[in-house]
């Protein structure tokens, strides 16, 4: 049998052994292809520092609360990932989420609509706002930065307007929506079974890929690596779930967030739409000449971002059991954007993944939870979170410069 198609070139070294894998990983990091490394380092530093300052930080129930908080802003951050990948930005995600929470409160509690209809109205609003941004960008050439900045104010105004003079609406505690946002956790066995799924999917997908590569006469990655990855992931997940189950357990809301992340990841990496998104973010003109409908890609990214922000806002309302004038203001915007960037999605477009939302938001919420436990005032919290965002962007810029000088674009 001849050499596999992709191993015919003798100038390129291929080392599939463990040492080779580690060496190529180190080479990639040196060249500025950081991937998930900053997050891993960040999380370790955060856990060590905060648990040293206050042991409550790592108590299971605190982590469960952390996951409840992660889900709301994390879903917004997932929307940010979509627009960042096409090289644009949406600065109004906080206002969209706040307006969505106000819509749910006013129409569900105030007007007595069925809760699902109210949520659907909020999501439709998010999609419509995203569509408007896309039109402003596509037709009028308005930079998304300015369009969404004006959207931020306009939407905040609408939120205040529909909430009226009382300014806040309490959502009924006994409702399904509020318990989904505050208390609903998975039964222990269910959480452990769901925790097996990722490893299983990796195994099945990887084996399918190996068989298909073999059939096409391409080099087949070793089975050992695949098994090791699946085993390590499964062990880590089961351990984490076990630990969380010592407290209240794994929130369903976090499960929904993970499901959305996985779905978006599939769309970005395994569909033509996702490939087009990456292409538009990387080189808009090249994408256009390849026959990609660039305007449609921008429109889909903005609509997705708006809709996910509205969903995040709805869940935030459920989490707080209220729709208020404060919803979506303050640091929601920045946290959502910071999470995406910290997780490894570049501000410059065309580089990143759906998983950056989940990793980034855990970092952000861990910092915020740790600072709350230390009883620091919000003035200090803002300053520290601002500093972390600055560091994340600096890391992104430096890594980009290093990638360019190492010829990895």
């Amino acid at each position: 049998m001849s050499a596999p198609l992709d191993r015919a070139d003798s100038r390129v070294t291929h080392d599939d052994s463990l040492r080779g894998v580690i060496r190529s990983f180190i080479d990639r990091i040196k060249a500025g292809d950081l991937g998930m490394l900053p997050v891993a380092v960040g999380l370790i530093v955060i856990s060590v520092v905060f648990s040293a300052l206050n042991p409550v930080f790592l108590v299971p129930n605190n982590l469960v609360n952390l996951l409840f908080d992660c889900a709301t802003v994390g879903i917004i951050s997932l929307g940010i990932v979509c627009v960042l990948l096409v090289g644009e930005i949406d600065l109004s995600v906080g206002s969209i989420s706040g307006f969505a929470s106000a819509i749910v409160g006013v129409f569900w509690v105030g007007e007595g609509w069925p809760v699902l209809v109210a949520i659907a109205a909020a999501l439709a609003m998010g999609a419509a706002v995203g569509w408007i941004y896309a039109q402003l960008y596509n037709r009028l050439g308005m930079p998304s930065f300015v369009a969404t900045l004006s959207g931020l104010l306009a939407l905040l105004g609408m939120q205040l307007y529909i909430l009226g003079p009382t300014g806040s609406i309490n959502l009924p505690y006994e409702s399904a929506l509020v318990s989904f946002g505050q208390t609903l956790v998975m039964p222990k066995t269910v959480s452990h079974v769901l925790g097996l799924l990722p490893g299983l999917v990796i195994l099945v997908q990887g084996q399918r890929r190996r068989l298909r590569r073999g059939k096409r006469n391409l080099s087949v990655p070793p089975l050992g690596g695949l098994l090791a990855r699946a085993a390590i992931l499964t062990a880590a997940l089961q351990l984490a779930i076990f630990y969380l189950n010592l407290g209240r357990g794994l929130p369903w809301m976090f499960g929904l967030f993970v499901l959305l992340v996985v779905a978006l990841n599939y769309a970005l990496t395994r569909t033509q739409w996702g490939r087009s998104v990456m292409a538009v973010g990387g080189n808009r003109e090249a994408a256009r000449r390849a026959g990609i409908n660039v305007r449609r890609i921008y429109t889909s990214a903005f609509i997705l971002c708006g809709t996910l922000s509205a969903l995040g806002g709805t869940l935030a309302a459920a989490r707080l059991a209220s729709s208020s004038q404060q919803a979506g203001t303050g640091d929601v915007n920045l946290n959502a954007i910071a999470a995406a960037v910290i997780g490894g999605t570049s501000l410059f477009g065309g580089r990143g993944s759906a998983y950056s939302a989940i990793l980034g938001i855990i970092v952000i919420q861990a910092i915020s939870s740790g600072l709350t436990l230390l009883n620091l005032s919000s003035s200090l919290r803002y300053m520290i979170t601002g500093g972390v965002l600055a560091i994340a962007v600096i890391v992104d810029s430096l890594a980009r410069r290093s990638r360019i000088s190492h010829g990895r674009g």
Binding site: L5, D6, A8, D9, R11, V12, R209, R212, R213, K215, R216, N217, L218, R270, T271, Q272, W273, R275, S276, M278, A279, G281, G282, N283, E285, A286, A287, R289, A290, G291, I292, G350, R351, R403, I404, H406, G407, R408, G409
Partner: protein, 253 residues
Amino acid sequence: MAQEPILSLRGVSKKFGAVSALTDIELDINPGEVVALVGDNGAGKSTLIKVLAGVHQPTSGVIRYEGREVSMESPAAAMRLGIATVYQDLALCENLDVVANLFLGHELSPYALDEEAMEARSWTLLQELAARIPSVREPIASLSGGQRQTVAIARSLITNPRIIMLDEPTAALGVAQTAEVLNLIERVRDKGLGVIMISHNMEDVRAVADRIVVLRLGRNNGVFDRSTSHQDLVAAITGATDNAVTRRMEKLQ
């Protein structure tokens, strides 16, 4: 020649307002033939390429593709016919790998990308072109200029065109890389495709072209073969035997 041309132009003209960019252009492209399109700045080379790529529509004249009269309303229409264009600024996505760039816009199975089939097809195509790309899973940014040109040419072949048009394929390349791209052009020709190549570099043109079509001020100004002397070519391009280039040459001798 008994062979029927893939593409033939008869009396093609293009006017932009009062300006005649192309006047009564006659051009035939046969399968397995490299036609070089040369001319000074403003001779109409780019306009002609754009007409053939479907970017501009001719004001008058007839374009026949495989004997049928055709009109190309858009770049997509030209691509569907089987006319692929490689622009001077390659237009590759540097953040995507070679496979993704080759299949951009033509991915196999859009809702569950068939990465294995695409990768295998990429390798076969690159091997047919005897291209030297170390890995198709590296981002384009890590490739050299010649390798990028190779990827751009390979990409135009993904859709199985009958004709490919190259706009200044060697302009940005070094000596060795230029030679590689010229080899590549010959291999594309040997696959039976018609190749149209625009170049300012007479050496490159004479190295690969089977016919050299000279445009001057938007008109045909003669068809030459590769044995034509440099002086005659320059004369046809500039429209005079007495010009700056020949005077320099005489001074050197």
